[in-house]
């Protein structure tokens, strides 16, 4: 053991003080971040929506729910899907275009299929979706859980 490798009392105290200081800073940072983190979304958007009965939505229909920021889509085969209307490109509100049968974003022209699949970039992934719950013929949408997906698939669709 060479002399220089020994930790003197002074060195030890320096390190201890430094570590304590760093820890204090970290804690302060953590407190600030936690304090600033988003509060649970209050009110309508973010809660569970009871949107109606299965029969209210004919197959091949798209119904907007502005308060919940979603479209309830019933595909031609009768399956349900709730799509978050926020464009996956840069967040514009995507309107449903009845004549073309697509969602067409006004901001940079992304287009989506009724099931959310991208037909036209720049959107990098399909429209996000919310879980659809069907109990006793009543359709509910949970807007508290935003589900991102890289591709559309049969698992996205709920059948009554």
């Amino acid at each position: 053991m060479s002399e220089s490798k020994k930790i003197t009392r002074r060195d030890f105290l320096k390190i201890a003080w430094g570590a304590a200081g760093a820890l204090a800073l970290l804690e302060a940072g953590g407190i600030v971040l936690k304090f600033l983190s988003p509060k649970a979304a209050e009110g309508e958007f973010g809660g569970v929506f009871t949107v109606g009965n299965v029969e209210d939505f004919p197959p091949g229909s798209v119904t907007p729910f502005n308060a919940g920021r979603f479209y309830l889509v019933r595909l031609a085969d009768g399956g349900f899907l709730a799509l978050y209307r926020k464009c996956t490109h840069l967040g514009c509100a995507v309107p449903w275009d009845q004549t073309s049968g697509r969602f067409v974003c006004p901001c940079h022209g992304s287009e989506f299929e009724p099931d959310g699949m991208v037909l036209n970039p720049p959107a990098p992934r399909p429209l996000d979706r919310f879980p659809v719950i069907i109990e006793d013929g009543v359709v509910k949408v949970d807007t508290g859980t935003i589900i991102q997906r890289d591709r559309t698939g049969p698992d996205d669709i709920v059948y009554p």
Binding site: S37, P38, R69, L90, P106, C107, H108, G109, P121
Partner: protein, 460 residues
């Protein structure tokens, strides 16, 4: 006691009060007194007592740094006034703006002044950076002050971005929606970061609260601190002294007293700017569109004009590249510029040298031609994602075009060095000019040539 220690102060009470405030003869009568007046006054001692005569030539600094300071103070003053009529909530914000413009005495004028000063500050801070770059004002020992300046530029952008939301009109709502969505593309922490800034998944009441706190407290305080540090550094290092092409660095420099030579110019310049700003703000109103409507995005939904260059990049690259990789690379490149090796002595010389002026113009011309050409090619001819269908778009529309462009830029640098026999400093400046021109052209395209659905249009 008072009989044997006579009081030398003025006879009248008022006179003694005045003397206690000013402490020196005003106006000072000789150079010595003038220097003392500058040194012992809190505001004036931001200046040295004497300055190099060439350094106060208007066509060296164009007063841009000082102008930025002036605008910061106008923004502080008008901003505090606006606080008295504005409530940051989605229910009242927009109505407060309407009331401000129609019911409050001089409300529209104060809003205009704040709006236009904020916009002008973006331009002025940017031009100031260009001035410093092209005169080599960032050379040792001023490298770090350049980095400080860069952070000020970012803070100016942040202040504008947060302020943009506050009127809560359609323009504000969607520009901030689009702008903050860019955060979502930051690798790994993007979603978390976006939610933190917005206070939720979308722009809403929580976003307004966050932006308000940032805009009126956090950013101004940080900016005041950093700007103070920036000025202090300029004061300690002294301003670089301008030189003509043939002047040696060790020439004899005449020095003059700050009072009145520099102060006089500063005051006249400030008054002219204030006058012009008042005139402009009396005639041109800050824009205000319909109230924010989260259900309907306008078409086109454009960012604020100073982010149009970025927006244009987004139309050509995968968002991770357009919003994060390329701007990030540009910032890092700007920050390390003063730390690269200098191979010619050019401090204080506009565009480094005679050859430097040539290659700067060359860079500008190349940028002017190449940028629109690339935009048109990408819009109408090249479609990388469908040429490379097996690759994810982050590669075909990100890595591939970025690598191609970087190779072209390296080739350009090499060509300037060979073709013009340019030194590294000159070639670097030429490259900088090329990229600067591209950025300006992209911004102009974004402002004037993008219409519905962001398609290219001809505005006339």
């Amino acid at each position: 006691m008072s009989t044997d220690s006579p009081d030398t102060r003025p006879d009248s009470l008022l006179g003694r009060v005045w003397e206690s405030i000013k402490r020196h003869d005003l106006p000072p009568q000789d150079d010595r007194a003038r220097m003392r007046a500058v040194m012992s006054n809190l505001l004036l001692h931001l200046h040295p007592a004497k300055v190099a005569k060439p350094a106060i030539r208007f066509n060296y600094t164009f007063g841009l740094g000082g102008l930025a300071l002036l605008l910061l103070s106008i923004l502080a003053g008008t901003g505090v006034l606006l606080l008295f009529v504005y409530t940051p909530s989605p229910e009242s914000a927009y109505n407060d703006m309407l009331a401000l413009q129609t019911e409050i005495w001089f409300g529209q004028l104060i809003r205009n002044l704040h709006h236009w000063s904020g916009n002008l500050l973006v331009v002025v801070a940017f031009l100031h950076m260009l001035r410093v770059f092209y005169t080599g004002g960032f050379r040792s020992p001023r490298e770090f002050n350049w980095v400080i300046g860069l952070s000020l530029l970012l803070l100016v952008a942040a202040a504008n971005f947060t302020g943009y939301l506050l009127p809560w009109d359609q323009l504000a709502y969607w520009a901030v929606t689009v702008g903050s969505s860019l955060l979502g593309y930051v690798p790994v922490v993007g979603d978390w970061l976006g939610r933190l800034v917005l206070g939720g998944p979308e722009v809403g009441a929580a976003t307004l609260t966050n932006f308000y706190a940032l805009h009126i407290a956090v950013i101004p305080l940080v900016m005041a601190g950093i700007a103070g540090f920036h000025i202090w550094r300029v004061r300690k290092d002294g301003l670089t002294v301008p030189r003509r092409l043939d002047e040696p660095p060790d020439r004899k420099i005449e020095r003059v007293t700050t009072w009145p030579h520099l102060l006089g110019r500063e005051i006249v310049f400030a008054l002219i700017v204030i006058g012009l700003l008042l005139f402009w703000s009396s005639w041109v109103d800050a824009p205000l569109e319909g109230a924010a409507d989260p259900d309907h995005s306008p078409n086109p939904a454009k960012a604020a004009w100073y982010f149009m260059g970025l927006q244009e990049l987004l139309l050509h690259f995968h968002p991770v590249f357009g919003a994060i990789v390329i701007p990030g690379l540009a910032l890092v490149a700007l920050a390390v510029l003063p730390y690269l090796r200098f191979d010619i002595d050019a401090e204080g010389i506009w565009f480094r040298s005679r050859r430097g002026r040539g290659v700067a113009i060359f860079g500008m011309l190349v940028g002017l031609i190449a940028t629109p050409a690339f935009v048109l090619l990408d819009e109408y001819v090249i479609d990388l994602p469908s040429l490379l269908p097996s690759l994810p778009t982050i590669i075909s529309n990100g890595w591939v075009p970025l690598a191609a462009i970087l190779l072209l830029l390296i080739g350009y640098y090499d060509m300037v060095r060979r073709l013009f026999g340019a030194t590294a400093c000159e070639a670097r400046m030429s490259l900088f000019t090329l990229l600067l021109t591209s950025f300006v052209v992209l911004t102009l395209i974004g402002i004037f040539f993008r219409g519905e659905g962001m398609a290219l249009v001809v505005p006339f």
